[in-house]
Amino acid sequence: MESKLGLSADTIERCRSIAKEIVNPVQNYIQRHTTDSVERATLRLLGADLINDNGVPVPNIIVSQLSDKIQYGVAQYYINGLLKLNCEPDELNRKIAGGLDLTELDMVDKKYINEKGQELVETFSQRVKLHRSFRKEKIEKASDAQPSPLLYVIVATGNIYEDVKQAQAAAEQGADIIAVIRTTAQSLLDYVPYGPTTEGFGGTYATQENFRIMRKALDETGEKTGRYIRLVNYASGLCMPEIAAMGALERLDMMLNDSMYGILFRDINMYRTFVDQHFSRMINSFADIVINTGEDNYLTTSDAYEKAYTVTASQLINESFAHESGMPEKLMGLGHAFEMNPNIKNGFLFELAQAQMAREIFPEAPLKYMPPTKYMTGDIFKGYAMNTLFNFIAKATNQGILLLGMLTEAIHTPFMQDRFLAIANAKYVMNNMGDLLSDMEFKTDGIMQKRAQEVLGQTESFLQEINEKGLFDAVERKMFADISRPKNGGKGLQGVYEKAASYWNPIEEYLNGELGIQKGMM
């Protein structure tokens, strides 16, 4: 496909290979390390679940019991428990919640652990494969009813049961994707809450039970409307791999999962995040879960016109990291956003150029396009007009995933009617101007072509600079989003461990095999 924007394929290629060079040393670090959360995710995939009377989840109990042994991989101790007590995970979970200390059990022969490990991996794998084929079938059946871009809305009442009402209503109105926003600051919890929850701030706790409740509700509405309603939650944070694991088990369809979001926007330690994102993306890749990256956050924090290139650079880095996790392009919901100051003259042209550029650089990725938020005000009417132009560009540039703007963005998390109005707006616009771009051409060396070329050029220089410094240092030196994060600062560093030579993780092994991930030098 020829570039409508006159972008040079060589420059794009160069950018991509610099991104790979940037990622390489980080990947090297990742492969030599594990984290609390990677281990807890592994436990969850093998069957660990439940909380104790103090609300501490079993995976956390196990990891703290084994703190000095984590470097060997905690899976073997959990499996050893199953073998020693001759029980299934459910029972073992109850015992651990009741006070059983796994370190007090003698270890059986590694051979048996291996065997049992394979069995549990098989259970996990079967479950996820069933989800995959179920989803695939539903999506194929509904493909005519759900053309691109898919309409994505959030629910965020804080109460999973209210969320269900809101989500079902939205799905009936035409939403294809429902994201249950998490309660504020859940990303900073170093454990995953348990059970159904009804009290959150600005969102609802991500718990496995909440996933199940919403999954069931959306499947119902999907049946009713003859469509497949995708469910999204947030992996990012200190529990990134665990939440990915829960998503894989409960058939979520998308996961917020960025390689650097936690570092920059949640002050989570960079080593922790890099290791976590890799393992969580392996799970997503295997479970056929589309990730959503968080480039929009650069633009809400910095100026969207000035810093447009940081988005493109981050997309390329995210892509490179995702490749390392065995992720195919079709699962890469790379993020970007319509966040320029609405008062910029010809802002629409710059946004259009930017969106089209993303489309051309990542032709296979189902780009996730985020609506105006930063410049939304209490003027809900103005906001509605901005969303109209946003929807226009989304359709004109064939974005894959359209996160709908809410007219009340600056006021409150969405009311039921806000979502309805957003969906109606998108449907109106997209039907009305659907074939516009194929009916027009960009003027050679016009405003839009020049803008895209300029941003691509800036992206290349920026990536080069990062590569020279190295990613760790670049983050420390404020190169992203004007935020400096010291290498050993932030939350969660204490949960990072160098793997012992004998480190064993049956899930990781299995996924590496399934996803064809090449291990680099150790």
Binding site: N159, E162, Q166, G378, D379
Partner: protein, 242 residues
């Protein structure tokens, strides 16, 4: 069953408002808007936006929550029965009324909007719904717009109308109500009211309003020809049996 407005939590009572106050923009105006919304009976009023319209006027967007609730089980609407489609209506006339019926329609008074009455009457119909002129069992006369009530009644007498349909679109200063009332008065003066089924329609005409004024029924936005057709034939049948 008691209901309240719903934002994102049952019974939160959340309502969006917008309005203009005749005051200059500024913190005092914002505070006035908040208090005003409070006086309207809302709690937790938030003035989320304000904008000067001129030196003397300011526009506000406000969200508030109201404790007011409504017993939904007590709400009654006299819905117009609109059960039959084109074919059924014609069938009904043939079988039950046993003769063609005569319908005269017009947009009356100074009102010049023909599109509404045309939607109901014209051959080609509206939104894929045939108009009354296409009904083989109906003899339909559409007199167009700006027809005087007197002329309409005169015409109805001439063609021996069973049904008169009136369209009223302009409502400013309640001109539609004056016009509709005047029509009913004339009909009564001529002692025709009881013999002819009279219906009114228009985007601001509800069944309730029309009945209060003395019409048999009223038809609001989104009406189709078969709605009024099925209503009037049932009504005529009912009258016939008395």
């Amino acid at each position: 069953m008691m209901i309240k407005a719903y934002g994102d939590t049952l019974n939160d009572g959340a309502v969006q408002l917008s309005f203009t106050l005749p005051v200059a923009s500024g913190p005092k105006a914002d505070e006035a808007a908040r208090i005003y919304t409070g006086k309207l009976g809302f709690e937790e009023c938030e003035v989320v936006h304000s904008n000067p319209l001129s030196d003397d006027f300011t526009f506000f967007v406000v969200y508030g929550k109201s404790a007011t609730s409504l017993d939904y089980s007590k709400v009654v609407v006299e819905e117009v029965e609109t059960s039959m489609d084109f074919y059924e209506v014609n069938q009904f006339i043939k079988e039950k009324l046993k003769r063609k019926i005569v319908v005269v329609g017009a947009c009356t008074g100074s009102d010049a909007h023909t599109v509404g009455i045309d939607a109901i009457m014209n051959m080609k119909g509206y939104d894929q719904h045939y108009g009354l002129e296409r009904y083989p069992e109906i003899e339909a006369y559409n007199l167009g717009a700006q027809v005087k009530n007197e002329d309409l009644i005169e015409y109805a007498k001439k063609v021996k109308a069973d049904v008169i349909l009136i369209s009223q679109i302009v409502t400013q200063k309640e001109v539609h109500i004056h016009n509709m009332t005047n029509f009913i008065e004339l009909m009564e003066a001529e002692e025709l009211r009881d013999n002819i089924v009279v219906c009114a329609g228009g985007p601001r005409v509800s069944n309730k309003l029309a009945m209060e004024i003395g019409f048999d029924a009223g038809f609001g936005r989104g009406s189709y020809p078969e709605h009024v057709a099925s209503y009037v034939v049932e009504k005529l049948f009912e009258k016939q049996r008395k």
